[in-house]
């Protein structure tokens, strides 16, 4: 626990700096109100809109922990949304639509894991295949159209509902975080993942079921991506196969890296990934809310500013850079 807290220090510092900046620049950021039985305000919006990336980051942490990567999660989100919307369109019950969508996403995860473990295809290539194919499948399901969902359907609760004052996406993300953390840390799955990512050969010699563990990690990733896809689709009450989850795999990977988990696998931090996901979303919201000389920042600056902040967080975490700075200082002294 001590070790993981030490790892978390830089992401937390970065998040704190962002929040302080907001507190100064746009005090309304922390203005949280209870309106119509629902908490609202910029801080709540950050968590609400960040929920899909938080879900993806949780799964991505496990996948990266085994030394793998999953580029297909954005496409899997699109599949979930498309399938659920299509079934609702055919007047299937909500429960069935949700179950079918999630089932399909777990199957997609098993497909990815199978390519990696059974066929021996490198994870980046194996999941690249579904990154392309998945979006194609989603487009086939929707016939290339945007399928709208009746905004009064109980399905939209997944994206717009409120439980105990909290938006449902936040509840889903937090619940998933607790469940995943419990599964990983209260069983031996976490140590197995870290062992495989740390030294796959040694894990095999120690008798771990390497294939099964890797496969299950991709399956969990599929399930979480499915949840993220349902939230996204329910939120806008429409399945947009072209844009749902687009590029979110990159945000998820970024969140994991910001959270201090090495891309080479081994030790991982679920909490770090959550903090990373929150940093990414806070950044987007901050840029939107910040005014400069009375004018808001033009949206075309968003990605560049985001990249600069992420770069700084990563540099802060780089042991290599810290050593270089220390050496340079030592040389001057």
């Amino acid at each position: 626990m001590r070790r993981s807290l030490a790892q978390l220090i830089w992401p937390l510092v970065a998040l704190a700096l962002l929040l302080v900046f907001n507190a100064v620049e746009s005090p309304s950021f922390f203005h949280v109100q209870f309106v119509n039985g629902r908490l609202s305000g910029a801080a709540i919006d950050v968590l609400n809109q960040g929920a899909p990336v938080m879900l993806l980051a949780l799964g991505m942490t496990l996948v990266i922990g085994t030394g793998g990567i999953d580029l297909s999660v954005g496409a899997v989100m699109a599949v979930a949304g498309a399938l659920a919307a299509k079934l609702l369109h055919l007047e299937a019950p909500v429960v069935l639509a949700v179950a079918a969508a999630l089932g399909a996403c777990v199957a997609a995860g098993i497909w990815n894991g199978g390519l990696v473990t059974v066929a021996g295809i490198p994870p980046i290539v194996a999941t690249l295949i579904f990154m392309v194919a998945g979006r194609g499948i989603a487009q086939l399901i929707t016939d290339g159209q945007i399928i709208t969902i009746n905004p009064d359907s109980p399905f939209t609760t997944i994206g717009r509902g409120v439980i105990g004052g909290l938006p449902v996406p936040i509840v889903i993300a937090l619940t998933a975080a607790i469940v995943i953390a419990a599964i990983v840390r209260l069983t031996s799955l976490g140590v197995f993942i870290e062992a495989i990512g740390g030294n796959e050969e040694a894990s095999r010699y120690a008798g771990l079921n390497v294939r099964w563990i890797r496969l299950s990690v991709y399956a969990i990733m599929g399930l979480l991506a499915g949840l993220a896809g349902l939230i996204d689709t329910a939120d806008i009450a429409a399945a947009d196969a072209n844009n749902s989850g687009l590029y979110l795999e990159l945000d998820a990977i970024l969140a994991v890296v910001i959270g201090g988990t090495a891309l080479t696998g081994g030790r991982f931090s679920l909490l770090g990934a959550l903090v990373g996901a929150i940093i990414i979303q806070t950044l987007s919201t901050t840029i939107l809310m910040t005014t400069f000389r009375g004018q808001s920042v033009p949206p075309e600056f968003n990605l560049v500013i985001k990249a600069i902040v992420v770069l700084m967080v990563c540099l802060l975490q780089s042991g290599e850079l810290r050593r270089m700075v220390l050496r340079a200082r030592g040389a001057r002294a």
Partner: protein, 508 residues
């Protein structure tokens, strides 16, 4: 020799804390094949690295054709005429043979474009000159490893080489392929090239070399004309013994095992192509079977087959009476087997996991992910084994990578001991660890045996194998060549079998 091509004199190379080479002399004549032999840590590779510019010497002189040289990079050495071919073929499989041979020095037109026709012509000339029947326009991967190796030789010597270094070129070749390579070496020797040949296979040393230089522990043991050095003397010198030293390592304990003991392990006709030839093996409870042989003799391959790391190509295997079909480490562990691997970094430790997590890995793996051993229980087990094996670590939560080699080895031992296996296989458990830890491991083996465990013990140190084992199976060139028990079990006898001089054990 009059026309010395290479003269290395008084070479010293020290790595932090270790003298890798301590005043070594070496010479190579034109038109000579010179074998360089020695066990692990003898300094062969360091000597070669200094000659080929991969490392720089601390002291000593290197002369090439009478001129002192000091290559700083392999490219410089190459330009001076020293070509090297490594065990792993360092070529690009997807390029054609011609592209590989001329990579980086393709014939170019005035505008800088590659002249493909000319390239194929030049490359074909090179391979024809070596007597290889190869179409240079084909991709490299279309050819066998042996041919790829020879193409690597072709590439190396095409650059006006006078000296060719072959670093274990035959380890992945079969007999026919080796013969092809030797034919090529002989042709090159005839053409006046000096060849340094590094190998673990003694038969090959005697088949092809003119002289032999033996290194041991970073020092020169001697250089001999091959025909004048009996095999037994060669083995004795490699292992640091004298031939006259027939003093038997004192049998510290009862050599014979109780005939009543249960058979734990039986293998018959087990083999894997290009790894180890067919062998039979039987192991009883309360018995230590030693596997002896030089590096590369097939010791490790035997235990890898038994533990299911590699799949066998044929033969029968039963563990504790259970016949094993498709094998895997999980299967082996379930049947009561354990293996501490030769390379503890690559196959043993998970470096950033803690001492506790490393110790519990196999037990937890056998229980499955859902039935987790509680942290408190894990700590109790880890504490117990830290004490029992006197592992020095300040804390069982420390990453195992921060421990010394000997303590890391004990962590892996603990991983398996806590599984209470009936068969424990130890592959070089004492390599690279200090004397104190070595003795502890030896007496631990004794203790486990007396409690009824069956053990297989591998070590490159003959004395150690002889001290620890009840019975020794000797391997040479990836095949079993004999077994020693009781009265016959002494270092001299083992050495004779390794050298292939035992009566009735003539080996092709």
């Amino acid at each position: 020799m009059a026309d010395a091509l290479i003269e290395m004199h008084g070479i010293v190379k020290t790595y932090p804390g270790v003298a890798a080479l301590d005043g070594v002399d070496f010479s190579l004549s034109a038109g000579e094949i010179h074998a360089l032999v020695g066990e692990n840590g003898a300094g062969k590779s360091t000597l070669i690295k200094i000659l080929t510019g991969a490392e720089r010497r601390d002291r000593g002189t290197v002369r090439l054709g009478g001129t002192e040289i000091e290559p700083r990079t392999p490219v410089q050495a190459q330009r001076l005429g020293i070509a090297t071919v490594y065990q792993e073929v360092n070529l690009i499989p997807d390029l054609t043979v011609a592209e590989n041979i001329l990579l980086g020095r393709e014939p170019r037109s005035r505008l800088g474009a590659i002249r493909w026709g000319e390239m194929v012509r030049q490359a074909q000339q090179v391979v024809d000159k070596l007597g290889l029947h190869v179409d240079v326009a084909e991709p490299l991967r279309a050819h066998s490893i042996a041919v790829q190796q020879m193409i690597a030789v072709a590439r190396a010597i095409d650059q006006q080489a006078r000296v060719l270094v072959l670093d274990e070129p035959t380890s992945s070749l079969d007999a026919t392929e080796t013969a092809q390579l030797f034919a090529l070496m002989r042709r090159l020797r005839k053409a006046g090239m000096g060849i340094i040949f590094i190998t673990h296979f003694l038969d090959q040393v005697y088949e092809v070399s003119d002289r032999i230089t033996i290194l041991r522990g970073g020092r020169l043991v001697g250089t001999h004309v091959t025909g004048e050095l009996p095999r037994l003397s060669l083995v004795a010198r490699m292992l640091g013994k004298s031939v006259e030293d027939v003093s038997q390592t004192a049998a510290r304990r009862e050599r014979t095992t109780d005939g009543e003991q249960r058979e734990c392990l039986r293998a018959s006709g087990l083999f894997k192509r290009n790894a180890v030839q067919s062998f039979d093996l039987s192991l009883k409870a309360s018995e230590v079977l030693g596997l002896a042989g030089l590096l590369g003799s097939g010791r490790t391959e035997v235990v890898r087959l038994l533990f299911g790391i590699d799949q066998r190509d044929g033969g029968e295997l039963s563990i504790n009476g259970e016949s094993i079909g498709h094998h895997s480490p999980r299967r082996a562990i379930k049947a009561g087997m354990a293996l501490t691997p030769e390379d503890r970094r690559a196959a043993g430790l998970v470096p950033h996991l803690s001492v506790r997590e490393n110790m519990l890995l196999a037990l937890q793996g056998a229980k499955g992910w859902a039935r987790r051993v509680s942290v408190r229980e894990q700590q109790a087990i880890a504490d117990r084994y830290v004490r029992a094996l006197s592992i020095s670590t300040p804390d069982i939560e420390k990453p195992v990578s921060q421990l010394s080699g000997g303590n890391q080895q004990k962590v892996i031992l603990a991983r398996w001991l806590l599984m209470e296996p009936t068969i424990l296989m130890l592959d070089e458990p004492t390599r690279g660890i200090d004397i104190g830890a070595k003795e502890q491991i030896e007496s631990l083996i004794d203790e486990l045996r007396s409690k009824g465990m069956a053990l297989i013990f591998i070590s490159g140190e003959l004395d150690e194998v002889v001290r620890v084992s009840q019975r020794i199976m000797v391997l040479r060139d990836r095949a079993p060549v004999g077994e020693l028990t009781g009265e016959n079990l002494n270092t001299h006898a083992v050495m004779r079998q390794i050298a292939g001089e035992a009566a009735g054990q003539a080996h092709a």
